[in-house]
Symmetry: D2
Subunit: 354 residues, 4 copies
């Protein structure tokens, strides 16, 4: 249930399951997982003792309840990243003699970017599942009404009749491609980050590349050369979210146009009421899909500004990503949820038009 402290419209643009992956809690958990896996990988490669790896993993296992959230918040406010404060707490939990092995050779960005990728994995999976459901709904709809005639419209004018199946295919095809795009992200785009303070991996010694690969295996992420100041993969994730939300907006736009009083080709169940005109059935869900698409289009452009990193690490551009990516992912998730609801209640009237 939405809190009354949030804007009413938050209900339309938000997605609790996706928001959960961007919460402070989830971020801390992902960073701790990074630290544990890094320590295990370093132990595995003999960079330090197996005992140190075990001790750090165990401390991470115990940290959940022991975390001092206020200290972490103060640390974030001061440092712009939560890692220094979190590493301090983790080192304390590990204690002597292995405390110094925590976060060894790593920098905040390694932990944060890798932690983000760990959290994007379930986000992408969730979006994929919802897309599957939406595609199944389109298939069922096609089976039910596909042969029915429908007036096609080009350039805001009635064009020629085609079929409901042909119409639904124009929605289905891009969604199928977006599904494949999401499915492909984990194999290459969702990758570990391991560059150390200046991003060249030198702080990890000669085994830096091996260590990155081992870390990737443990975290079930793709391996990659350090990408501290190359945000292309973040932009590709934003692109996946934007084109998906864009297609949903296109579906919403179509639905609103087809459901116009004078067109009447599409019936939207549960259309919204008006405070002044009892006869109206407003295509609320369809309109919100358009709004979400325009929102994510704009955010995608803002995210592109974050490509311009200063030198080895830009605090400004990086922080901008943190502002923009979560609402983009939530908008995509909300769009899929709303699209499913919209299409559930929609049927072509298949009466002759124009």
């Amino acid at each position: 249930m939405e809190s009354a402290d949030r804007p009413l419209a938050h209900a339309f643009a938000s997605d609790a399951a996706i928001a959960a992956q961007f919460s402070m809690q989830a971020e801390i958990a992902a960073i701790l997982e990074f630290e544990a896996a890094l320590a295990e990988a370093q132990a595995e490669l003999g960079i330090f003792s197996l005992e140190a790896g075990v001790a750090i993993r165990e401390a991470v296992g115990r940290m959940g309840k022991a975390l001092d959230h206020d200290d972490l918040r103060r640390g974030f406010a001061r440092d712009g990243v939560v890692v220094p404060a979190l590493v301090r707490q983790l080192r304390e939990a590990v204690g002597a003699p292995h405390a110094a092995s925590v976060h060894k050779g790593a920098t905040s960005q390694d932990a944060i970017d890798t932690g983000l990728m760990l959290r994007l994995k379930p986000v992408v999976a969730l979006l994929g599942e919802r897309l599957d459901a939406l595609l199944a709904r389109l298939d069922a709809w096609t089976a039910e009404q596909g042969d029915s005639p429908l007036m096609a419209h080009t350039r805001m004018q009635a064009a020629l009749p085609f079929t409901v199946a042909a119409k639904l295919a124009t929605w289905r095809r891009p969604l199928l491609a977006h599904r494949a795009r999401l499915a492909a992200l984990p194999a290459s785009t969702l990758a570990v980050q391991l560059g150390g303070p200046v991003g060249d991996g030198s702080s990890f010694g000669p085994q830096a590349a091996e260590l990155s690969a081992a870390l990737a295996r443990r975290l079930a992420l793709a391996d990659a050369a350090p990408w501290h100041s190359d945000r292309t993969r973040i932009l590709d994730i934003a692109q996946a979210l934007a084109v998906l939300t864009g297609t949903l907006g296109k579906i919403g736009q179509d639905a609103a146009l087809l459901a116009q009083s004078e067109v009447g080709a599409l019936q939207l169940l549960g259309g919204g009421g008006s405070s002044a005109m009892a006869h109206k059935q407003n295509p609320v869900g369809a309109e919100v899909l358009v709004a979400l698409a325009r929102l994510n289009a704009g955010l995608a452009g803002t995210m592109q500004q974050a490509m311009i990193h200063e030198n080895e690490r830009s605090g400004a551009a990086w922080t901008l990503e943190w502002f923009v990516l979560p609402p983009m992912a939530e908008a995509a998730g909300a769009g899929l949820r709303l699209a499913d609801a919209l299409l559930t209640g929609a049927r072509f009237t298949c009466r002759a038009t124009a």
Copy 2:
């Protein structure tokens, strides 16, 4: 205190005092105030009885505790606006014989847009107060260090020496202009909306213009012809927020540049620490100001897309405003708060450079 359910970076882009004005609670309260003032104004003009006006005002006074928030949320999800459900609850609270006088002649958009303006007034006032404090801080700083020499930089190169006073003046002048811009908003831009279902005021009868003026007086907003599908004033508010955040971002950019290790012209107290490099003092606040400016620049462009309203009322474009304006206002508020903190801890070193 931030909830652990929010992203860590939310602390940088959010502002609790401003968020409060965009909450569901504040929106409901503002809409109820609109309904009460509208009823009183209609009673004043003899459109209906004084008793009806009193009854509605009293019911509004009693509504706070009696509101069924779940019903309102369901209503919003269904109708895309909260007004139909809220008016139903209010009419029930008013009861016979005056229930029908509630929201008489009005449409959802009248209530929502006017309600937004009522809430933007304290937002604008709060930003103004923070700007005053920031300007006072700049004045004090100028008094303290103004005569000190400072190297000016143009096109990323040391140019010629000028003074700290000249430097601070380049920050102060636009902030002063933004202060005047904010102060001018209530007199014209923050206006009532009263157009009725199709936006021409005809549902209010021949006294529509008088009624709008009376309503404006009661709500201490500017009067205006109906602007349902003309979002210029929303865009002008967005512009005020964007140029303010932009100037703060410019100050942040300057601070980060002047505080570079090799330049050392500005000392930022409380700079952020690094998890890997103990010697570093990262200009966190300065970087966040840049990120907020780029965020609001992008959101300003997204908001411009909302100018393209369909016909007498666009659900899609209007919903887009609701997604974009609150984060813009919060980012401006957060920027002022962070700028104040940044400048509090900043001093020019006034050592010779270049």
Copy 3:
């Protein structure tokens, strides 16, 4: 006539009269006018001799034919601004003993920003004249068809009938406000820039403020404190262009919706043909207005990024303005031209709908 070297779509987004003000020729002429007026103002204030002022004005008068454009282009490519090369050519034309009085105390940005303002004045005037014509057309249309009934539409649904006059008023009111906004620009926003190398005016000596005022009088621009690194006035010009183009896009959107085959409320003469469907009348002009509005909305957001100037002068942010402002102004001009053509051929059918 458009050149075949340009994209076909250039015809829709361009405006020759406005483009002329952004040409290299116009920029050079405006900068030379700045240099002549500056010299005369300096002579007037006794900063140097009256003879020097006369000599520089005369040289400027002779420069038109004598300019070495290739040298200027090379200078621009090298320096990022044309002023150093242009000042060199002007000093040569002035010759001894007054050559050194050319551009005295000034910096490239003074010449370029003031020169831009000189060229924006006719741009703004031209847009205003076209707006006047469009407003007159709306008035005539209202006189002709104003009393006719028309179905109003809200949220993509037929709402209630109103009149053509009420409909046209929703287009007219924002255009009228934009007209006033354009008319107000010269008095305050279109201002001289005179800051000298580091933007504090010190290079002009104790008479800097007097000189700025004198220059403003001579150039018929507003006076202003130096605004080298405060781009608010450029953003306000962009805002004027964006909201104007946005309203034109809203009119286009309405026209396309009302002219839909199934709605048939608006007849657009000269609608576009289709290569495949001879029966179609595509609302080309209306669609292009929407496209121009979305273009300028995006450009407005991009322009906001230019607020973040580095220190006393940012080459990057300034260059970004040069990329963005001309297409925005042309799109606004093209929109007015296309809107006029669209409305010329449009008539409400005033047949009953829905």
Copy 4:
């Protein structure tokens, strides 16, 4: 040589070789090639006679000189697309009895979108070649100075020393990935469009899919199901342009930061002069790269708005693409050209810093 009719800054954002592919001439030629190849493919599949295919190909071969450009421009202004006028001219050139076989089953969008893809192929190839040259330059530079020490900077502060090789690797890696992305576009993203009037291919009869494949083979484009209203592939091209320009902007930002007077780590030959300060060497090329990156970031977001197509074909969204894609491609091309010039004249000073 740039015309004096263009803005001076056009020299920085334009690219003649790329602009040539977006010219009216190139568009007409590509559409004619589509029509010829379509006719040949239809003849090959027995949809009409081989003679008709030959006649159309021959007419296309003769059209170059015979085109009535003024008629085409008038047609474009009226129809919003050039195809109806062009097909009329082509049919006239073909004459009886094969005139009716011209453009058979096709719609304007088939010709225009396929024609765009034909022209994007050399654009992509050209960008790829320039990228190769830039990568080669980076390799040579690495060979020359790679072992030299350099201070790394994170969050606008000196961090720790690394090497020039490590620095250049952070520029090289994303460019290499962008190179691969460009190289991959022709195989899948650059695809034929063949949907007919309502986008379902039905106008081509039962052989629609075969015909599309045959057309793709003849044009050396990828085959694809009709994508009239699914603009994902256009967005993916925009993404390729934006991330490329973004990386170039990041390189420019780095160069400007490293070349600061106080840092002095990078020497930029041919830096720009100042009209007021003879000692300055402004990093003009570096700044322009940043400006181009911010321009393309904004345009990428604007392009995303074009995902929201209305029904089977949106005139508005499609026209928006035509406004945005050419300047994006030119900005990418200009960026590569400027980056090459910048890096040619750049050398790390390799003096100790901070």
